[in-house]
């Protein structure tokens, strides 16, 4: 039995850096696991249950009543609606469900296939910046931008209310913003095209008129339009909005802006912020105000024949993403079998020579040629208005002159003359 070694560590730190690395890794992993778990719960409890189009996989109908109640309870003081609470909570989440969920939160314009009535009275027009459409959410001292497909674009500090952890502690839980923006790569600027929440105040149920007014008065004063700095990573800028009279439309169409234009956006002044496709916001473009009028394929080239993405349904019908969907055709069972297709698949087709045929202004027949499954990044099929706009661009486009002319059309003239009469 030898004597026992009694050496103690001498001039040594209590734990080695290797041990520290291991422990920090474990801490990070535990934190990540907690976050993932928290996200899953958050999704389950507050987001999906509020979403009406909860997937068919839901075994039991959810109980939105209870959810709404608790959400309101929690948010009463701040006067926020449960809807923006969810956007705020979800903005920092990951996982595919969150991406899908986010994809449904933006208000998406329909394509202008004919000119709406009362354009000059009821509509605004603005030159749409070219870039990535995204939701920008500032809360708890950080700002996150989410693209249309739900993926995170940036995670950064900003001068938006609650957008950065500044020393003055302006990151309170009650204050937050949700903006509808387009990120313009060239000048690294977020162009704000709409506002959904400002400083804890929900604007979902406000008219576009009010939202634009609010945006113009608040954005500038927040400092978000200042050049980038330590607590403000990207510049924000409001997009000029015009009344859609002749001057306004002409200025939006031809006027100089600091960004590359991608068509014109038309907002109905009375419309609330509504998620998903809406006919109360319209997009229109031609070669003068957009580089991308006709859709290109994955190689960036314009295919000789127009292509569309349609969703295959249980009954083998091919439909658009509209609600209710528009039927473009039907696949036969053999074809579905052979190509290994399932209902819910998004499929790419080209229009063959037959093109589209209409009767009484309604689609009667589409001459479709199957190309294959669509890109996995796609979340939805094309909308009817998009398909039609692309079709008309190739055949008989709606021109700026048509728009200008409609402003002087009898309807408009009638109103104007009416005014004159009363004044007289």
């Amino acid at each position: 039995m030898a004597p026992h070694d009694l050496r103690r560590p001498f001039k040594r730190a209590a734990i080695s850096d290797q041990q520290k690395r291991r422990e920090l890794s474990l801490l990070r992993q535990a934190q990540n696991r907690r976050d993932a778990q928290q996200q899953a719960r958050c999704l389950a409890s507050s987001i999906l249950s509020l979403q009406s189009p909860v997937p068919e996989s839901e075994p039991e109908p959810e109980q939105p009543d209870i959810e709404l109640e608790t959400a309101t309870e929690a948010e009463q003081e701040s006067g926020a609606s449960s809807k923006d609470l969810d956007v705020r909570r979800a903005s920092k989440l990951r996982r595919p469900q969150v991406r899908k969920w986010f994809a449904r939160q933006l208000m998406l314009p329909e394509w202008m296939i004919d000119v709406p009535d009362r354009l000059s009275q009821d509509w605004y027009v603005l030159a749409r910046p070219s870039g990535k459409r995204c939701f920008v959410v500032s809360s708890n001292g950080t700002t996150v931008s989410r693209q249309r497909n739900g993926s995170i674009l940036h995670h950064f500090p900003s001068a938006l209310p609650a957008g950065a952890k500044t020393r003055d502690g302006s990151g309170s839980a009650q204050s937050y913003c949700i903006l509808d923006c387009i990120f313009h790569e060239l000048d690294q600027t977020y162009y704000v095209i709409d506002v959904v929440c400002w400083n804890g105040y929900s604007l979902y149920d406000c008219t576009a008129e009010f939202r634009f007014y609010w945006l113009n008065s608040k954005l500038e004063e927040s400092g978000a339009c200042s050049p980038p700095s330590y607590y403000h990573k990207y510049r924000f800028s409001a997009v000029p909005v015009y009344n859609c009279d002749q001057d306004g439309l002409y200025t939006a169409y031809t006027g100089a802006v600091p960004y590359v234009k991608d068509g014109l956006l038309f907002y109905n002044k009375h419309a609330h912020y509504q998620t998903g496709n809406t006919p109360l916001v319209l997009v229109w473009k031609d070669e003068n105000c957009s580089q991308y009028v006709i859709d290109t394929d994955s190689k960036g080239e314009i295919p000789s024949q127009q292509q569309v993405v349609l969703e295959l349904q249980d009954n083998r019908q091919l439909v658009t993403s509209d609600d209710p969907p528009v039927v473009f055709g039907c696949l036969d069972a053999d074809m579905i079998q052979q190509s290994g297709l399932d209902s819910g698949n998004l499929l790419r087709f080209a229009f063959s020579d037959g093109g589209l045929s209409f009767s009484d202004g309604k689609l009667e027949k589409a001459d479709l040629n199957y190309l294959g499954k669509s890109n996995r990044a796609r979340a939805f099929a094309d909308s009817y208005s998009k398909v039609l706009f692309q079709y008309t661009v190739r055949h008989s486009p709606l021109k700026i002159d048509d728009l200008l002319a409609s402003i002087n059309s009898p309807d408009d003239q009638e109103n104007k003359s009416c005014d004159i009469e009363m004044a007289g």
């Binding site: 039995m1 004597p3 026992h4 009694l6 050496r7 103690r8 001498f10 001039k11 730190a13 080695s16 850096d17 290797q18 690395r21 291991r22 920090l24 890794s25 474990l26 990070r28 992993q29 990540n32 696991r33 993932a36 778990q37 899953a40 719960r41 389950a44 409890s45 999906l48 909860v54 997937p55 996989s57 839901e58 075994p59 039991e60 109980q63 209870i66 959810e67 608790t70 990951r94 996982r95 595919p96 469900q97 995170i152 940036h154 995670h155 950064f156 020393r167 330590y230 990573k233």
Partner: protein, 868 residues
């Protein structure tokens, strides 16, 4: 078979003869185990055989009874137990007979083998006559046999646990051992054997130490033994005192004054091995009192199972001068020798422990010594003073030290550059590190590092990194703590202006020719890691610039070919440091979106390098590279999928590494990282991963600490792949269920309770992940049959009342997840459970915010489930 010749051949210098003999022995063992063991024991007992073959026979016997690895040991034990009883009793007779051999080597070999057999048989209530026959030997035999018998008792006490031997026999063993130690025993070898035996037998003496008379007797004999002329006995006796100080701390009060006198005399006058043990006695008392006082501080009622007797506080006026005295007995060049341990080092270490034990009280006792010696011409005095100063920096309150430190700081900085003695510089740099470790940081109110002196401090430390390796290593250490103090300093760090220069200097250090000495290279990289960890956004671009630099270093380690095993080991070590550094950088840059984005340009190349590091080894994976890959997967997200085809085999290799269980554990953690990064893209690899994880769980060779993380990993995978987990559900649930049953009740010591809670947490995290993964899928029905058991588990651990906060939080979360996913299918089950009432209410009123938050979530989910 003529075993003697084979055993001689087995020790031949001729390799082929040796190999042949080993082969013969192996065959013999496999063909006829009882015959093999019998002939070995016969050889050992035979006085006519050469001593070498007798010793080797004993050694092989011992190895046939015990092994280091748990499963191998278990196998050997079973084999022995199933051996023919007749053969066993013959073997044991031979062994006992050998104890009285005049050849002492044979006797002491036999004593070790007997202890091994006893270790197997006594817990089975076999060989009841062993202790009796040993004891009768002690009283009758000649000295050499008595010595071997006492050694046997010592080994036996080391081998078997106290509850196996009844008190009556313990009493007899102790009586024999203590008598053998006492002055009445004339033979020094016997006395030494008895003293060493007592060291092992102390654990059996609980009852005897509770009896005043018996305890007095044992203590008197031990103390007397510290004064015997034989240095070996004095050393062994002090070892007993050290062991008593921790095992019977609460019984020491009556003897502490005497022990102080004995130890003081030994420290002053005795030979070094004895003096070291004497100092160790006080270090050990410090350990005890620090533990007790920590327990006092943690518990508001001030209760502890063992009361503090404040021995150190009472001994302080005499103890401190005694220790300070030792500091002046340094050896030349002790700082260059990594295995050195001498009285000055032991004394200094003890002084540091005393400071931690008594706090402020030590300061006035040490300051005069520092003041008197710090500027003396003799380097020993300057070094001792500096060491004393460094030792007392942990323990006393910052308020008590701050003035002293402010005065000393500039003196230290100047000594580090100007003192002619390397030893003094080494200790000075170490002391500066201690100053920064304990008195610098956001927790200390009056900062000792100010804008006025920061520049000078950094300059001096960087200068010292060019000094001898040992001094440079301490300077790196000081810089480590300097950076650490600015860990949470906010957007702007005082280190920022020097960041570039610090990083450059550290990299230069790693390239020094002598960086392999005094672990200098390791220290430099570790400091670089800490500097990176504590850096702020201001220096993010500089950290980014470091990435290609470290990558190039790592690339260079991959160039060497045809390396010797020594070179290979060095390569692996360096790769470990570089992968560790990259891991820290990745974690740092990955934690912020903007830096992560820029960093990602390097991801492909870094991953390529990690894969090449793995390829350097054939059978094992590099732990540091694995950790770094975990960080990379987290930063990369779903794009990590592109690395999987190549990386997968190493992942599997890591999961199979039972030997280095740390590597296995780290790999399990990385699987979790990858699951979170890839989400559903991990599916193609799930079959392989899940199969291996389930295999690991059912193995008894894998270290138990890896099992809880494996369960958590199930949860990570289930959450990532959702209903696809169905494939593994049955297997995973059955593994979880049996582990849950085992971990509902805890029996055992604190350590076991802690492990059980870790295990529970792993199980619960698995349940959470599975429930949330299946949520919103058409297959939630599959989970319904498991609900009763899971609720029972929750109720079970609630009733036990011994879960920690972490388990409580996870457990109540599982209740919510179950309700959330199963909804009305589990409504009535949930309502019947205890967890949904008492446990939930307890969590709702918890002061721990995390528990409360989980509980509120659970309440919400339950209210939904039962309202349907």
């Amino acid at each position: 078979m003529e075993v003697t010749q084979v055993l001689l051949n087995a020790q031949s210098i001729d390799g082929s003869v040796r190999k042949n003999a080993e082969e013969n022995l192996k065959q013999f063992q496999e063909q006829n185990l009882p015959g093999f063991l019998l002939s070995l024991s016969g050889e050992l007992a035979n006085e006519e055989k050469p001593v070498e073959t007798r010793k080797l026979a004993g050694l092989i016997l011992k190895n046939a009874l015990d092994a280091k690895e748990q499963h191998r040991k278990y196998e050997l034990v079973q084999r022995w137990l199933s051996l023919d009883a007749n053969a066993k009793s013959q073997i044991k007779a031979c062994l006992l007979k050998t104890l009285s051999s005049p050849v002492s080597d044979a006797g002491s070999t036999a004593s070790q083998v007997i202890a091994k057999v006893a270790g197997i048989e006594l817990p089975q209530k076999q060989w009841p006559e062993l202790i009796g026959s040993l004891l009768s030997n002690v009283h009758q035999l000649p000295a050499h046999a008595k010595q071997a018998t006492l050694e046997t008792l010592g080994y036996l006490c080391e081998e078997v646990s106290p509850d196996v031997i009844d008190q009556d026999q313990v009493n007899k063993i102790l009586t024999a051992v203590v008598q053998g130690m006492s002055g009445s025993e004339g033979n020094a070898d016997v006395r030494l054997a008895a003293t060493r035996a007592l060291y092992n037998a102390l654990g059996f003496a609980q009852a005897n130490f509770s009896n005043d008379m018996e305890r007095d007797y044992i203590m008197r004999v031990v103390c007397e033994a510290t004064l015997t002329p034989d240095v070996r006995i004095r050393q062994a006796a002090f070892e007993c005192l050290v062991s008593i100080s921790s095992t019977y701390y609460e019984k020491l009060a009556p003897y502490i004054q005497d022990i102080f006198n004995i130890t003081a005399k030994a420290v002053k006058e005795d030979e070094e091995p004895v003096a070291l043990q004497a100092i160790e006695f006080w270090s050990s008392i410090c350990d005890e009192e620090i533990d007790i006082l920590e327990e006092y501080a943690g518990d508001l009622t001030g209760d502890s199972e063992v009361p503090c007797f404040y021995f150190i506080k009472q001994a302080l006026p005499a103890l401190v001068p005694m220790l300070l005295e030792t500091l002046l007995k340094q050896e030349e060049d002790q700082d260059q020798d990594e295995v050195a341990w001498n009285i000055a080092m032991a004394g200094g270490t003890c002084l540091g422990l005393v400071a931690r034990t008594v706090g402020d009280d030590i300061v006035p006792l040490v300051v005069p010594f520092i003041e008197e010696n710090i500027a003396k011409p003799d380097w020993r005095q300057r070094e001792a003073a500096t060491y004393a100063f460094g030792s007392i920096l942990e323990g006393p309150s910052p308020e008590k030290l701050i003035n002293l430190v402010n005065v000393a700081l500039s003196f230290m900085l100047s000594a580090l550059t100007k003192d002619p003695n390397s030893h003094v510089k080494d200790t000075t740099a170490w002391t500066l590190g201690r100053i920064f470790e304990f008195l610098h940081g956001s927790a200390v109110e009056a900062p000792i590092i100010t804008p006025a002196n920061c520049q000078q401090i950094v300059t001096v430390l960087l200068q010292s990194m060019k000094d001898t390796p040992n001094v440079a290593e301490k300077a790196c250490g000081a810089l480590y703590f300097l950076a650490q103090g600015y860990e949470d300093v906010g957007p702007s760090s005082p280190i920022t202006p020097f960041f570039q220069e610090i990083v450059q200097s550290l990299l230069t250090v790693t390239h020094r020719e002598d960086a392999g000495e005094s672990r200098l290279r390791t220290a430099a990289y570790e400091t670089l890691n800490e500097v990176v960890r504590c850096s702020t956004d201001e220096t993010a671009t500089l950290v980014l610039q470091l990435v290609p630099v470290i990558m190039l270093e790592l690339h260079n380690t991959l160039e060497g070919q045809k390396m010797s095993s020594d070179e290979r080991e060095k390569q692996s070590e360096l790769q470990g440091l570089l992968c560790g550094c990259l891991q820290v950088i990745i974690q740092k840059l990955g934690s912020s979106e903007s830096t992560k984005y820029v960093f990602m340009q390097y991801a492909d190349q870094i991953m390529g390098l990690f894969l090449r590091v793995f390829a350097c080894r054939s059978a094992t994976v590099h732990e540091e590279a694995m950790l770094a890959i975990g960080a990379l997967a987290y930063a990369t997200g779903p794009d990590f999928a592109k690395y999987m085809p190549e990386f997968y085999r190493y992942l599997e290799m890591g999961l199979q590494n039972f030997e280095e269980y740390q590597v296995c554990a780290v790999t399990v953690g990385v699987v979790g990282d990858i699951a979170r990064a890839l989400e559903e893209k991990i599916v193609p690899y799930c079959d392989g991963i899940m199969t291996q994880l389930l295999k690991n769980l059912s193995s008894n060779q894998l270290h138990r600490s890896v099992k809880p993380p494996i369960f958590s990993c199930f949860g990570d995978i289930a959450l990532a792949v959702g209903e696809y987990f169905e494939k593994y559900l049955m297997w995973a649930m059955s593994a979880l269920q049996s582990a849950a049953e085992l971990s509902t009740h805890t029996v055992g010591d604190d350590e076991l309770v802690e492990y059980t809670n870790t295990l529970r947490n792993g199980i619960l995290e698995a349940y959470s992940g599975i429930f949330q993964g299946f949520k919103n899928s058409p297959k939630t029905q599959l989970l319904v049959p498991y609900a009763p058991h899971i609720l029972q588990f929750l109720d079970g651990i609630y009733i036990e009342k011994d879960m920690d906060d972490v388990v409580m939080k996870t457990a109540i979360g599982v209740l919510g997840d179950l309700a959330d996913t199963l909804g009305s299918h589990a409504g009535s089950l949930i309502q019947q459970s205890l967890s949904s009432k008492d446990f939930l209410n307890e969590c709702l009123s918890s002061e721990d915010l995390m528990i409360k938050e989980s509980a509120e979530w659970a309440k919400l989910a339950i209210s939904r489930a039962i309202s349907v």
